[in-house]
């Protein structure tokens, strides 16, 4: 059974290689992508059931005992996120296939897209499943390397600089990551996350907290925490809509996951975490206010993404079981909702030919279905009952109120304000894009450029994929009870990590 843990990483990598070989027949590539991602979702579901009933599933690669060998671990949190991510990547893949078919003058599938997309999925899976710090670095590099290719594919003069910013910022954070690994190894002599806590605990307090801060900075760049968010609203909107959707849904969340994993498992909680609460508050407010100032639909969504990273940080900084349960619920909700919103943005720009909210109008009258597909995730993002965002936000607010320190109360209030600001921002999108008389789509200025803007018809696959994601977000609200229980159990695991550690280290001969 434990071999299942390796499949979410191995399958997409193998399929990526085959997909490259089959570059000449787009149909085989598409089929392979869809089959592999469906398989990952199935494997993730099995792992989730197993991790929930029998504890973490551990695989030691090559039979090396811990803490020397590479371990893959699927506990509740990892399996849950793996499942949601697999579903989102599947929906985005179907959307991109749909967009490519209907593209004017872009009939040929690119040889690079499918292999790179699968490599990206492999990187995301490895990041969730890995049990050591260096492997986490490798996972980030697999994921980011693929994302560099996807964001710069068919690059044009207008897009080349923003993608350059993205590549350079990500590379810098990766180099800081290597530095951090070197520091951690010098201090503890291990890179295995499960073996690290007791070594860390033996260090002087100053060294402990500087390592913790360093880790927050490294993953903070990846997760786009204010003030390390500056690169995100510049670079994400320049990629084609489905690519932006998968970046927004997954890449930042992997950063958040890495933060949760390292901070709960490795480091000891102390009073200095109040600083993290402050950072969470600033992230929420700066993101939401930044979103309101925007006129570009995709930039606005990107700022909202930054703002909602603040919520996840808030729950993590509270460091209680209900706080972390809220974070897990929030991450699951946000992956689907943010992905769905960027896909809808892809549909809208396809119909209007522009990303400017001032220039577009009347989508609701011309395409009512698109308006519905926008309204549900948008209200969910703003936290209006009965959608999934409400469930997740209530969990976080309760956790904040339960902690009850002045700082926690302040951030809880800030979270409510941010929720209102988010509502204002999505209302602005609604008024700009969906209300008013329908306008003629602006002409496609460059038919060979599949940027965010590009007028064309939409296909059933694009609508279906977006609808599927919206449906998943509705399902999250419907299944809120069992999901909240699952999150609470996962959060309990995170704070009482003996189970994780003994599962990883226990039976080994190391």
């Amino acid at each position: 059974m434990t071999f299942l843990v390796a499949l979410p990483v191995l399958l997409p990598l193998l399929a990526a290689a085959l997909s490259l070989v089959a570059g000449r027949s787009p149909r085989v590539q598409r089929l392979m992508g869809v089959v592999v991602l469906t398989a990952i979702a199935a494997v993730a579901a099995v792992l989730l059931v197993r991790a929930d009933s029998e504890g973490p599933v551990v695989l030691r690669l090559g039979g090396y005992g811990p803490p020397f060998g590479i371990t893959l671990v699927a506990d509740r949190l990892a399996a849950l996120l793996l499942l949601v991510s697999a579903l989102v990547t599947l929906a985005v893949l179907i959307f991109s296939v749909g967009q490519r078919i209907t593209d004017f003058g872009r009939r040929t599938a690119s040889t690079a897209f499918h292999p790179m997309y699968l490599v990206l999925c492999a990187g995301v899976s490895l990041a969730y499943l890995t049990g050591d710090l260096f492997n986490l670095f490798v996972a980030f590099e697999i994921m980011l390397g693929a994302s560099y290719v996807l964001i710069t594919r068919r690059v044009t003069a207008q897009r080349v600089r923003p993608s350059m910013t993205y590549v350079i910022v990500s590379l810098t954070s990766s180099l800081l990551f290597i530095t951090m690994i070197a520091l951690v190894y010098t201090a503890t002599g291990t890179v295995n996350l499960a073996a690290m806590p007791e070594k860390i605990a033996a260090l002087p307090a100053g060294v402990q907290s500087s390592l913790a801060v360093f880790i927050v900075v490294v993953f903070g760049i990846k997760a786009a925490i204010v003030p390390l968010h500056f690169w995100l609203p510049d670079s994400y909107p320049t990629a084609p809509a489905p690519i932006t959707a998968v970046f927004a849904a997954l890449l930042t969340k992997v950063g958040v996951y890495a933060l949760i994993r390292t901070q709960t498992l490795v480091f000891v909680h102390d009073d200095s975490w109040a600083v993290l609460l402050g950072v969470a508050l600033v992230t929420m407010l700066v993101g939401a206010l930044g979103a309101i100032a925007q006129n570009d639909l995709n930039r606005m969504l990107s700022f909202l993404l930054v703002s909602h990273i603040g919520y996840m940080l808030f729950g993590l900084a509270l460091f209680t079981v209900i706080g972390l349960a809220g974070v897990i619920l929030y991450v699951v909700h946000h992956i689907t909702v943010q992905g769905a919103l960027f896909l809808v943005s892809g549909l809208v720009t396809r119909h209007t030919g522009t990303v400017s909210l001032q220039a577009m109008s009347g989508v609701a009258r011309a395409y009512p279905l698109v308006a519905v597909l926008f309204a549900i995730p948008a209200m969910s993002l703003a936290g209006i009952p009965p959608f999934s965002g409400f469930v997740a936000k209530i969990a976080l607010l309760q956790a904040g109120a339960a902690v009850g320190t002045p700082m926690a109360i302040a951030v809880t209030a800030g979270a409510v304000v941010t929720s209102l600001l988010t509502l204002y921002a999505v209302t602005k999108i609604w008024v700009g894009a969906f209300w008013g008389p329908p306008t003629e789509p602006l002409p496609d200025d460059d038919p060979n450029d599949d940027v965010t803007v590009g007028t064309g018809s939409t296909s059933a696959a694009m609508l279906g994929a977006t609808g599927g994601l919206v449906l998943i977000s509705v399902l999250i609200a419907v299944l809120a009870g069992p999901l909240a229980d699952m999150s609470a159990r996962a959060a309990h695991d995170l704070l009482h990590d003996e189970g994780y550690r003994s599962a990883v280290l226990g039976e080994g001969n190391g």
Binding site: R161, M164, I168, T172, L175, L183, Y185, S356, Q358, V453
Partner: protein
């Protein structure tokens, strides 16, 4: 563990040169900054293994004299990754140069749009080409922006 002062100084030098170059306006220098920073990080990973010792082959030396092989394996992996990504970055820089014809990192367009909106509010009489260019970012049907010119203006400001 003991601290190797030569390595510490070398690392400090590599990191400071790397970060200094990263702050530069010219793209080529930024890339060189990434390369040097990469060298620094990989060397640091190597140094993390402790002082040099005997090779780690069974039966060739006593266990205590052997070096820690793990950081070497990690450094090797990290070197390969930074090498591959540097190659990609160079290719991208070449493409950027071919498309834009210059090597300067530009200002953030959206920040400039907001700054220009403020400026326009202060002094209402603005030249027409300026306002046309601002509109170019909002509505893609307008004539394409001229990055070279933008840059000239950015530098003047």
């Amino acid at each position: 563990m003991t601290i190797n002062i030569t390595m510490a100084v070398t690392l400090a030098g590599l990191y400071s040169i790397g970060f200094y170059l990263l702050m530069q306006r010219s793209l080529m220098r930024v890339i060189l900054g990434i390369v040097i920073l990469g060298h620094g990080a990989n060397l640091f990973l190597q140094v993390a293994g402790g002082p040099p010792g005997e090779p780690t082959f069974a039966g060739t030396a006593v266990l205590e004299a052997m070096v820690d092989p793990l950081p070497q394996a990690l450094a090797l992996t990290a070197i390969v990754i930074t090498f591959a990504l540097t190659t990609f970055l160079l290719a991208l820089a070449y493409r950027s140069w071919a498309l834009l014809g210059h090597d300067e990192v530009q200002d953030d367009v959206e920040d400039r749009r907001i700054a220009e909106a403020e400026r326009a509010a202060r002094e209402v009489e603005e030249e027409t080409p300026e306002s046309e260019r601002v509109a170019g970012f909002e509505a893609p049907e307008a004539p394409e922006s001229r990055p070279g010119e933008d840059d000239e203006e950015a530098r003047l400001r």
